[in-house]
Amino acid sequence: MEIKEIVLPGELIAEKKGRKAGRGTYFEGEKVFAGVLGIPRVDENEISVMPLSGVYTPSIEDKVVGIIQGVEISGWTVGINSPYLAFLPLSEGVSEFVDTQRTDISRFFDINDIISCKISKVTKNKTIQVSMRSIGSRKLYGGITIKVTPTKIPRIIGKGGSMISLIKEKTGCEIIAGQNGIVWMRGERKDKAIEAIMTIERESHTIGLTEKIEKLLGEVV
């Protein structure tokens, strides 16, 4: 099993040469250094490092799976597997008009409900807002959620969704992988889906992973 080279915080990756010092890096003058333990990516536009581990730091437009933690007057607080709690304003969660004086909004979302939504605002102070207005956002009924390292999600989804489609097809499960590391799934062969996902999490930085997963799933009845 071959792997791409790992860089440590403080290691010099490359000279800037007009490129962007992207996520996971920092620069001093023309030198771009790794700012986290991970896999470096260098192309003609950007130098970045994909972290091998770490907590989820919300970014605008991220699609996440959240859990309602509190019901407030004009919205809900949502846990998004991050040091920061997000807020779902009433107007971003419900499209009909709601009279907050007379309505108990927990009828829309109650504590422990799971939702898929999008990060709509991240302030400098890390105040986070989510919205359910985007396509694909909905309340997720039944099923279970598992937590994986957020930085492994891209690998779990795969290029153009290829990996996650493979798992969904072979296991017959509905699966939504939030960029915040929470994966929701519902279906008969959840166990195989979980096994596949855990394997990807462990071996995400290796080459030849796709074949291994295909083999693992190939045996599903």
Partner: protein, 238 residues
């Protein structure tokens, strides 16, 4: 000369057979505690320390939060069975001071401003003490932070140096520590070579002090090579 008049250097070699600038056998491992975001184990000869990192995570109570930056909290603790005469559990004055200097040794390496209102909690436990426990703990903490994927400018590497029987040495063991003429702990940002912890006691003139500082820097370079190797290798094998 030790308190009992015993020599610590015989024929140019230390009692454990080492050359003056030689470090003890070093072992390092990461990801040993799966419930922590990051963790490590570091052994320098008979001194064993483990470190674990929880976070970045939400910080409560709220009044402790800094609105524009994260904070780092560090707890250094020695297990009661880590020393010859059982140590009562819980912080004593020495542990309180070491917790503070260890935190200040590591803080400059972390991009705390990326995590306003949050905290990164580092725990260092010394399981077996044979000299140079604080620097072993700091080396472990640095690995655990990298293992946790915490955004950092650099790793932190630490070592001890000192003077025993008139000879300048690196990596003091327990006996040498207790009987040294000078004993110094130093931590630095590993590649930038900037010093983040410096403590010394004994009696030394300025010229010798500068030689000790340079010896410490050289020793840290050797230790950094091991830290690097351990982190890179962890992800090589399946």
């Amino acid at each position: 000369m030790s308190e009992t008049g015993e020599k610590l250097i015989i024929d140019g070699k230390r009692l454990d057979g080492r050359e003056p600038e030689q470090l003890r056998p070093i072992q390092m491992e990461v990801k040993i505690i799966n419930r922590a975001n990051g963790s490590s184990l570091v052994n320098f000869g008979g001194t064993h320390a483990i470190a674990s990192v929880h976070g970045p995570r939400a910080l409560f109570p709220r009044w402790m939060q800094e609105s524009d930056t994260g904070i780092l909290r560090c707890r250094y603790n020695m297990a009661p069975f880590s020393v010859e005469d059982r140590k009562s559990p819980g912080p004593d004055r020495r542990s309180v001071e070491i917790s503070k200097v260890a935190r200040l040794a590591i803080e400059p390496a972390i991009f705390l401003e990326d995590f306003p209102k949050a905290t990164i909690d580092v725990f260092i436990e010394v399981l077996q003490a044979d000299g140079s426990t604080r620097v072993t703990g700091i080396n472990a903490a640095s690995l655990a932070l990298a293992d946790a994927g915490v955004p950092m400018r650099d790793l932190v590497t630490a070592c001890s140096v000192g003077k025993i029987d008139g000879v300048l040495v690196a990596d003091l063991n327990g006996k040498e520590d207790n009987n040294s003429e000078v004993d110094m702990a130093l931590a630095m940002l590993s590649t930038k070579k900037k010093i983040t912890l410096l403590q010394m006691d004994g009696s030394v003139n300025k010229e010798e002090l500068m030689i000790l500082l340079n010896l410490a820097e050289k020793s840290c370079e050797k230790i950094y090579e091991i830290q690097k190797k351990v982190l890179k290798e962890k992800y090589k094998r399946i």
